[in-house]
């Protein structure tokens, strides 16, 4: 297989931001996630929770809540504005000021006609959802105290609002408060502090369920305005509540990282009278859980430990499949690292700046697994801060290491890098073609003569780069007229072909000599997570979110024989059971039959000459092969060579000098920078 010197890179200080809000869209099974950095991500529940879109955030963002109205996504934050997102172009469509001070919560009614926002000044404002905009309709009766949570009654006639020390039920037509439910403060020291009702849920039979900062989940009746039952769930706060679609299960997220489930069951078997009973506790987080979602078949939670956790409810799932797996999504499903192969440079994309590092050098040789002495340490060549408040959407460095490009939602910047041995200088390219206003994905051609920028409606702009003038060459557009954005670009080594994958599951291949569309890969129902064009055979290798692997021959416009054989044989069940997607595919120029790819917990070399593994053979067989003598190895080896030495991988690439770069981000380092968790006294500690 080969020996590789591996550069184990741990100086990428990737720090994700905490999850603040979740919202589920049942029609298309998408979950929108809002983070404290202001970014919004869309996950597809049906496609192994693949992160389809990322809308970058901004500085000083404070998104507090999200709401779907049909296909439209709205968010509200502490800056007092309601924003609607343009999901096709992955940016904010418009913002509207609610004029009520910081907005704590937003909720849409089941009919999809109105949005209610709860503001700091104590008003619940109703907005009418019109075509292309939202319009202020009226204020409900102003209260003394901030509105922290809202929930519509399924009929749309009433709203319940959780405030400080009380819960109010409003009639939406008259705008008057119908009931005032007083919430008891905690015992002991917390009696002097106001009790904050962090979450409320309104059920169709008139039951109101609330979670407050004294750690109680209370069940109220809205006809009489009285408390039915109170459950003490935790010593700390109950921060979030969510009810399932059929209203039989409610989950509550707490400050200690647990998610508690309540179900509407009859206490005595056979009897008709049902009540809300605490059933299960899930402890999947180490820090506060700020938001939960009850999907019916799974419980999704997110909080201050930045992990997106999907915990399936196995009693609701009928068949065994990929939905039965506990998923903890820690890393983004896109690559934040780009590599200049010929120059040995790495570009790290942070939200507010870019860092360019040169890899270190080592001369020594050693046995497998040994650590080589470092002759020259890796050094940071460039720290490029962006102007403005927006965060970076995408970035790229050219293979020769001379050009750096990045794009935010509002601007596109290209820089020329001059790198002598000791001096690094950077000049900004000022006169860019006007079409380059912003890009969803950037790619350089392998000889660094062209820049490809993916823009609106799946189109790709081609700009030629030279010493002096950068000319706009042409725009490549797909035939289907899709409005979705492109999230992956791959250029061929000989500069003739360009492949683009968009959120509509389309993969287009463009001919760069004629500058027009060459072919479209047959649509597969799972999104593409990584793709690359082979340098010699010009085969497009694609890996999908459901871990399927395809190889498409560009010149022949059909799948290759190897790919058909893989489909006939089927992939090994251990390969399909991996829960993180493959984010990068690369090739080895010296061994044309090798394909190198990686996901978060393994990196793998696929050898196309070797036979494919069947379900009975041992899949992770590298260690056993090493223990066998040389002659027996060929009998037992198969095409998938997996290596699990490196964990929490963000990027793996093969450089020109046959050394591997593995960028790792240990979870312990991320955990070190999280906010403080609650203090729990455990036995024997």
């Amino acid at each position: 297989m080969g020996e590789f010197k591996v550069h184990r890179v741990r100086f990428f200080d990737y720090m994700p931001s905490a999850i603040r809000a979740l919202a589920f869209q049942p029609q298309r099974e998408k979950i929108a996630v809002a983070r404290t950095s202001g970014s919004v991500e869309i996950f597809n529940c049906a496609d192994r929770f693949f992160q389809e879109k990322i809308i970058p955030g901004r500085e000083q963002a404070a998104t507090e809540a999200l709401a779907w109205v049909g296909d439209r996504l709205f968010s509200a934050g502490l800056n007092g504005v309601i924003s609607e997102y343009d999901l096709e172009n992955q940016k904010v469509k418009y913002t509207i000021d609610a004029f009520g001070g910081p907005i704590w919560t937003i909720a849409s009614n089941q009919q999809g006609t109105h949005l209610a926002v709860g503001c700091e000044d104590g008003t619940v404002k109703l907005f009418e959802v019109c075509e292309g905009k939202i319009q202020f309709e009226k204020n409900l009766a102003k209260q003394k105290g901030r509105i922290l949570s809202l929930s519509w009654h399924p009929s749309g006639s009433r709203i319940v609002a959780g405030m400080m020390d009380m819960i109010r039920v409003f009639n939406t037509e008259t705008g008057q408060s119908v009931h005032r439910l007083l919430v008891e403060r905690g015992i002991g020291a917390s009696r002097s502090v106001e009790c904050v009702v962090w979450g409320v849920v309104y059920l169709s039979d008139g039951t109101i369920i609330s979670g407050d900062s004294s750690g109680k989940v209370k069940i109220w009746d809205d006809l009489t305005g009285t408390l039915i039952k109170s459950h003490q769930v935790t010593k700390w706060d109950v921060l979030a509540l969510s009810v399932s679609q059929d209203e039989t299960s409610v989950v509550a997220g707490t400050s200690e990282g647990t998610v508690v489930q309540f179900q509407f069951l009859s206490v005595v078997l056979g009897q008709e009278d049902k009540e809300w009973v605490q059933t299960r506790i899930f402890k999947n987080h180490t820090h506060d859980v700020r938001t939960v979602l009850e999907l019916g078949t799974a419980v999704v939670s997110g909080g201050m430990d930045t992990q997106f956790v999907v915990r399936p409810l196995l009693d609701k799932i009928e068949e065994r499949g990929p939905e039965c797996v506990l998923r903890k999504i820690q890393f983004p499903h896109r690559s934040l690292v780009s590599c200049a192969k010929k120059a040995g440079l790495l570009l790290f994309q942070y939200p507010g700046h870019l860092e360019l590092w040169r890899l270190g050098e080592s001369d020594g040789h050693g046995a497998s697994g040994s650590v080589l002495p470092v002759k020259r340490k890796p050094e940071k060549l460039l720290h490029l801060k962006i102007k403005g408040e927006e965060h970076i959407c995408c970035s790229a460095v050219s293979p020769c290491g001379e050009w750096i490009a990045y794009s935010t939602v509002a601007s596109f910047r290209l820089y020329r890098l001059h790198c002598d041995n000791n001096n690094v200088s950077i000049t900004k390219v000022s006169k860019l073609p006007k079409v380059l206003s912003s890009a969803n994905q950037i790619c350089f051609s392998s000889d660094s003569s062209k820049l490809f920028a993916a823009s609106t409606c799946s189109s790709v702009h081609v700009v030629s780069l030279s010493q002096t003038v950068h000319k706009f060459v042409c725009t490549l557009k797909p035939k289907s007229g899709s409005v979705q954005a492109v999230h992956l670009l791959a250029a061929s080594e000989d500069g003739k072909w360009l492949a683009s994958a968009n959120s509509d599951r389309e993969v287009q291949i463009y001919n760069l000599t004629k500058m027009k569309l060459h072919s479209t890969v047959p649509v597969y129902n799972s999104g593409v997570t990584a793709m690359a064009i082979h340098p010699t055979t010009n085969n497009l290798f694609m890996v999908h979110a459901d871990q399927q692997v395809f190889e498409y021959s560009i010149e022949e416009k059909k799948y290759t024989d190897w790919s058909r054989q893989v489909q006939r044989n089927g992939l090994h069940y251990l390969w399909l059971a991996r829960d993180t997607p493959v984010t990068n595919v690369t090739f080895n120029p010296k061994n044309p039959t090798h394909i190198i790819l990686h996901d978060a917990y393994m990196f793998c070399i696929i050898d196309q000459t070797l036979p494919l593994p069947d379900s009975s053979s041992q899949f992770y067989n590298q260690l056993t092969l090493r223990s066998l003598p040389e002659k027996d190895r060929t009998k037992h080896s198969h095409a998938f060579k997996m290596c699990k030495t490196f964990k929490e991988l963000m990027f793996v690439e093969l450089m020109e000098d046959q050394s591997l770069v593995a960028v790792e981000r240990p979870l312990v380092e991320i955990a070190a920078q999280l906010p403080a968790p609650v203090r729990q006294k455990k036995f024997a500690t």
């Binding site: 404070a62 502090v193 968790p677 609650v678 500690t685």
Partner: protein, 216 residues
Amino acid sequence: MAKLQRGESECELEKGVRVSVVMSDSSEDEGPEEVAFEESRSAALKSEEEKLQAAKREKELLKEKRRKRQQFFQEQKKKRLLSDTLLEEFDTVPQKQKKLSDDRDEEKDKKQQKLTKSKKKKASRSLQGNCSVMRLKDESADSSMQQSAMDFIQARLYGSGTLRTTNAELLSLEKKRGVKKGAAVQFVNKKWGAEQKAKAEKSNKRFIHRQKLVTT
């Protein structure tokens, strides 16, 4: 007899003057004193006058009070308003501006700017307290409200009263109770315990210095 025993009764001028008889406790045998008509009349008139005067005095007193209050309020109001000198200046400036309108435009503008500047300077000098002028566009009130909202959340979740511990403690406990037992993260990972080590170094140095263990 009963009328006499009742003592002095109020006299009514309209009905005429009645003869008032004063009963003395010492002698019941003696006959009633004879009081002359004129005396009693004058006594009655005097008492009436006194009453009138008392009422007048009360009115005067009330008037005085009201007057004093009025003065006090006026003085307060004066204090709030700018001084008279300033008002005069303000009056003169528009007159000056009117004069300048006859001159050329450039000169007018310059002088106006100067005057407005001087007006502003004078105004700022005489405004009481620390006041500064800011445009509403430049700094919105929203940022302060946003900051106070974020402080509220920070105080509720991480403020005093919430029982919080450090990430080092959390990870160390996980290591202690985990399947593969290990030492606390401060000892394993050099970056974690750096602060505590620095503190320990300092206190060691202080101890040595105090105990004079290092012989000079």
